[in-house]
């Protein structure tokens, strides 16, 4: 291989990184050959680089089940469910952080503004519904994963994501349980008065989402926190990402029956509706009643959280819509 061809091959390999691994496995060699031929004809072109980057992003969106193209139906459902799980995590991280802030405020004194009360009740009901839906969704997945892990051929493919899901969830659960002792609510009793939720649940949720904090923008104030708490603020989002990556990998790789796929797709679209209700409650607080005192005051981080939640919700709706449409036995639209 000549030096210039070698350099072109390296450039092509760099550009190929825009594409997901399965796409590279299928088209990588021939696409690299095409790029090398293009480099020989026209060494530099930002239009070509942009086109390749755009193609890579579209290939990744397609693999995530967000474009509705080319995937076979069961794969489309699995992709949609995996994407919906990721979108739900992205939605709940800022959403639960916001809810935890209001819970602490409520434990000290119920809100004076009617809008904040409506928002809090709406968000609490939607969060409880989401928790129930998550448990209902997790049960058949855990059962299928446990059964598949007993079989040798499936074990190799599932071991990695199962390990990630277990480690991420364990770190998040143990860490949140440990750090909930620093909860700034009125704690100590099982059902905080006059709070809306048990103090244990409120404290655990607060600790799990401690990283969603405006303190990142104020390093001097952040430095006053105990070192272990700052470390947890860095570790907990990583644990969440690891757990969600594992769950998404499991959903992608598990051989789920058409019945379970239909059931999961139905749960996912119900979760989408619950997310919309939660977001409506959050909007009600931030946009209508966010000028309250203390913890009932909405800041820039809450507006940012709304934007993240809206984006995650639209992604979840798109993924679950396509998953439901492709679910085996679903009525053609």
């Amino acid at each position: 291989m000549t030096a210039s061809r070698e350099a072109s091959a390296r450039r092509a390999a760099r550009l190929l990184r825009w594409y997901p691994a399965p796409w590279r496995a299928r088209y990588g060699d021939e696409f690299a050959e095409l790029l090398i031929a293009e480099f020989a004809e026209q060494p530099r072109s930002w239009r070509r680089a942009a086109d390749v980057a755009r193609g890579g992003v579209i290939a990744r969106l397609t693999r995530a089940g967000l474009t509705g193209h080319r995937l076979e139906p069961a794969e489309q459902v699995r992709a949609g469910l995996a994407t919906a799980a990721c979108a739900l995590a992205a939605f709940l991280a800022p959403g639960i952080a916001m809810w935890a802030q209001l819970t602490i405020g409520w434990d000290w004194a119920p809100p004076a503004a009617g809008g904040a009360t409506i928002a809090m009740v709406t968000m609490t009901a939607a969060a409880a519904l989401l928790a129930v839906l998550a448990l209902l969704a997790a049960a058949p997945l855990a059962w299928s994963a446990a059964r598949s892990l007993r079989r040798r051929p499936a074990r190799r493919a599932l071991r990695g994501p199962a390990l990630l899901a277990a480690v991420g969830t364990a770190v998040l659960a143990v860490g949140s349980h440990h750090f909930q002792n620093a909860w700034p609510g009125t704690g100590a009793h099982p059902w905080a008065q006059p709070g809306l939720v048990p103090a244990g649940v409120a404290a655990f949720s607060w600790a799990a989402t401690l990283s969603v904090s405006a303190y990142w923008a104020h390093p001097a104030a952040l430095a006053a926190f105990p070192a272990a708490e700052i470390a947890w603020m860095a570790v907990s989002p990583a644990a969440l990402i690891i757990a969600v990556t594992g769950v998404a990998g499991l959903v992608r790789r598990l051989d789920l029956s058409p019945r379970i796929l239909r059931y999961e797709a139905w749960l996912a679209s119900s979760a989408g509706a619950a997310m919309a209700v939660f977001l409506a409650g959050a909007c009600c607080w931030v946009l209508v009643a966010g000028s309250g005192p203390g913890l009932f005051h909405a800041g820039a981080i809450d507006v940012g959280s709304l934007a993240v939640m809206l984006l995650a919700l639209s992604m979840a709706q798109r993924a679950t819509g396509l998953a439901r449409k492709s679910a085996p036995g679903s009525r053609p639209q």
């Binding site: 088209y27 021939e30 050959e33 095409l34 031929a37 293009e38 193209h69």
Partner: protein, 122 residues
């Protein structure tokens, strides 16, 4: 007048599916038209399309359209030759291309007829 996908090729598998390609319908038509002349790999496709249409398909666009056409069963990949893989038009692809081009020709005929009657011949 028949609907946009209502006449030629109806009933054949894959016929009239180019309309579902949205903004990829253009590249898809060019690729299928090129493959109608024989099997070609990526670079040969780019050069052929450029030669007969004046359009240079960028690599990302070309492979996005190729993967969709392959997913729809309108083209198929042959054995790889020295890391380059040739593609071939399938029977469904030929039917879809014929239906699409017939639709295009009807539109072109109407446009040309109206131009001739209202604007004269150039």
């Amino acid at each position: 007048m028949a609907g946009p996908r209502g006449s030629a090729g109806d009933g054949a598998p894959g016929a009239g599916t180019l309309g579902a390609f949205g903004r990829y319908a253009g590249p898809a038509t060019l690729i299928l038209s090129s493959l109608a002349g024989g099997t070609k790999h990526g670079y040969a496709l780019t050069k052929d399309v450029e030669a007969f249409s004046g359009v240079r398909l960028a690599p990302g666009t070309l492979y996005e359209a190729l993967s969709r056409l392959e997913g729809q069963g309108l083209i198929e990949a042959l054995e790889s030759q020295d890391r380059r893989r040739p593609y071939r038009l399938t029977a469904a692809g030929a039917a879809a291309l014929r239906a699409h081009l017939d639709d295009q020709r009807r539109v072109a005929d109407v446009g040309l007829r109206r131009l001739a009657s209202n604007w004269g011949t150039s």
